[in-house]
């Protein structure tokens, strides 16, 4: 594979990675404008919804949840790109992770913030969302810890806080670097954020230990979050929701869509900020292989899930099954299979196509496919309650569609602002990998020993 020659000069690296902060370029402004407009559209839709009531959505009886929960599950899924993947790569000591980790961790934080918005704005009375918080109150009530939504509340908040800390810890040395390189207000803000980092060897040692400890803690938390999201459905007694394998099925789907989002984010960053020397084909190749693995796992789970329903042949399950496989939702269902498996799997399996462009195409399809997969899990089951008398249908309104578009805009906007304020590639982590191996391409285990030999 033809690969670009990475830079090994320390000063050039610092300059390259800090350039987006001072000269973001035209691409950045265009991105921010477009995404900002989408956020504005969603804000208008949200204001309209808050004044009129949830009736402006397409939801009805029996379809009480639709795009709101689709977006919730989808974005929580995307959030699994970052922290989980970065943590697994850190724990296993994969050297190629170095330019990838921060892109990934930032995705987690922003995707989670967006995902966690939906359980609030989808409430009939969003002004009372804080009633899920356990605090002594004048109503003498506490949350019902038997409810999966209470589990959600704890899981998402733990994951969000953990992910922010996990993003923040490796950012501290870079914040100190920014403090020393900036002036005025920025110097004061970066100075406050870096907590007086001096770069002593004791600080480095403790920071790396803490990051390793966090990586170990955050992996089970990430798994638990999407498992609990799946349990919102699996705990009910609805056909094709009440499934024991929903936990792992959702976690696999989450990692799958998360990797796709990460590849897309990296491809955009690479282009917009001219970081071709840092995010190199090898990174896309490796992530493409991970995406291929997840595509196969997704197909395996989906097949297992649908086979079980079909073979069991229970009338209520079959009603939902048929509507997806051969009924009104069939185009979406088979579209999902094409987007998540039929095209990406062969595309990523063939080495010649596992390029930056190839992985991007696969990732776009996977992101679209996984959004519709979430939709297909939620809506077909709800349209068909046990009594056929109550069967319904669902069509989204402009409000829901605007909110959906707005989530993508909001994500891009937050991500763009982040990459403008903080280096999107961890400078110190990247440099740390330099004297070893062939600039991050080879896996080096036991850093101090390898270094001693070369002295």
């Amino acid at each position: 594979m033809k690969d670009l020659q990475p830079n090994s000069n320390s000063e050039t690296i610092t300059a390259d990675l800090l350039r987006p902060l001072s000269k973001p370029g035209l691409g950045w402004y265009t991105t921010v404008t477009i995404s900002g407009l989408l956020v504005l559209l969603a804000a208008v839709a949200l204001g309209y919804q808050f004044t009129k009531g949830l009736g402006v959505w397409g939801i009805n009886r029996p379809v009480f949840w639709a795009l709101d929960i689709t977006n919730f599950v989808f974005w929580i899924g995307i959030s699994h790109a970052g922290t989980l993947i970065s943590a697994i790569l850190r724990v296993t000591g994969a050297e190629w992770r170095r330019p990838v980790t921060r892109c990934a961790e930032a995705i987690t934080v922003f995707a989670l913030m967006i995902g966690a918005l939906f359980p609030i704005i989808h409430l009939g009375r969003p002004q009372f969302f804080y009633w899920l918080v356990p605090y002594p109150n004048e109503r003498g009530l506490w949350p019902n810890f038997r409810s999966p939504l209470a589990w959600d509340f704890f899981a998402i908040n733990t994951y969000l806080l953990g992910s922010i800390i996990y993003l923040y810890l490796p950012l501290i040395p870079d914040l100190a670097l920014l403090r020393d390189k900036s002036s005025g207000l920025f110097r004061r803000v970066y100075g406050a954020l870096c907590l007086g980092w001096r770069g002593t060897q004791l600080q480095w040692d403790r920071l790396e230990r803490a990051v390793r400890a966090m990586a170990v803690i955050i992996i089970p938390v990430a798994v638990s979050v999407h498992t609990i999201v799946s349990w919102d459905f699996a705990m009910t007694i609805r056909p094709m929701w009440h499934s024991t394998m929903f936990g792992p099925y959702f976690v696999a789907g989450a990692i799958f869509s998360g990797i796709a989002a990460l590849i897309l984010a990296m491809a955009v960053i690479r282009r917009v900020f001219h970081l071709e020397n840092y995010l190199r084909p090898v990174h896309f190749n490796n992530l493409g292989l991970l995406l291929l693995t997840m595509s196969l796992i997704w197909f395996y789970f989906t097949f297992a899930e649908y086979l079980t329903s079909w073979y069991g042949n229970e009338p209520e399950e079959m009603a939902v099954f048929r509507s997806k496989v051969s009924g009104v939702y069939a185009p979406l269902f088979w579209g999902t299979v094409v987007c998540c498996f039929a095209i990406p799997a062969p595309l990523l399996a063939i080495k010649r196509f596992r390029t930056i462009k190839g992985t991007m195409v696969a990732s776009v399809l996977v992101v679209i496919g996984m959004w519709f997969e979430r939709f297909l899990i939620i809506v077909p089951t709800l349209t068909q309650p046990k009594f056929t008398f109550n069967w319904g249908s669902y069509t989204p309104t402009w409000v829901e569609l605007s909110l959906t578009a707005g989530t993508f805009g909001y994500f891009v906007l937050l991500y763009s602002i982040f990459s403008r304020l903080f280096p999107i590639i961890a400078i110190w982590e990247y440099k740390e990998g330099l004297p070893l191996g062939e600039h991050g391409e080879q896996t080096v285990v036991g850093v101090p020993d390898a270094e001693l030999e070369s002295v």
Binding site: S10, E11, T14, P134, G140, L141, W142, P143, N144, F145, R146, A150, W151, F154, A155, N157, T158, L161, G162, I165, L169, I172, P173, A176, L177, R179, D180, K181, G191, L195, G196, W197, R198, G199, T200, Q201, L202, Q203, W204, D205, R206, L207, E208, R209, A210, A213, M214, I217, P220, V221, S224, I228, W428, K431, E432, P435, V447, P448, E451, V455
Partner: protein
């Protein structure tokens, strides 16, 4: 006597300088090495207790979660769906999440304490040099005497 500062260009020079200091009989506790990337040198200081604090945080979080769920559920005392008021299966999930939260917060807190971060008046005087990729060795004469 002022603090002595040596500025070095790379890790190689830094290792040589440190070996020289050791030969000169400067105690390790008097030397502070600052760099813009981890050098993986032998690091002076007490043994780390970050993992221990993480585990303690996890236990505290779990204990808090058990108390919170059991106490509040009994206090509210409403039956839902015929489930027991104290439902260990369901509460176990809250216990897991709060254990993780406790571990995360204690790990962070302990790291900040051990790395001597977030202290008043500890702004780096050599920041510019470190930011330019230099390695700064600071020798504290006070510690040399003591």
């Amino acid at each position: 006597m002022d603090t002595e500062v040596r500025v070095l260009n790379n890790r190689h020079e830094a290792v040589a300088a440190l070996q020289q200091l050791e030969r000169d009989g400067v105690p390790k506790s008097a030397i502070t090495v600052m760099s813009s990337e981890p050098l993986h040198l032998e690091c002076e200081g007490p043994k780390t207790r970050i993992p221990l604090f993480g585990i303690i945080g996890g236990l505290l979080g779990a204990a808090f979660a058990i108390l919170l769920t059991v106490w509040t559920s009994k206090r509210v005392g409403l039956v839902t769906g015929g489930m027991p008021i104290v439902s260990p299966w369901a509460f176990g999930i809250i216990v897991f999440e709060l254990a993780a939260l406790g571990a995360i917060l204690m790990t962070l807190g302990r790291m900040v304490v051990e790395a001597r971060l977030a202290r008043r008046g500890r702004g780096s005087d050599y920041g510019k040099m470190v930011a330019e990729g230099k390695i700064v060795i600071e020798i504290d004469p006070g510690a040399t005497k003591g």
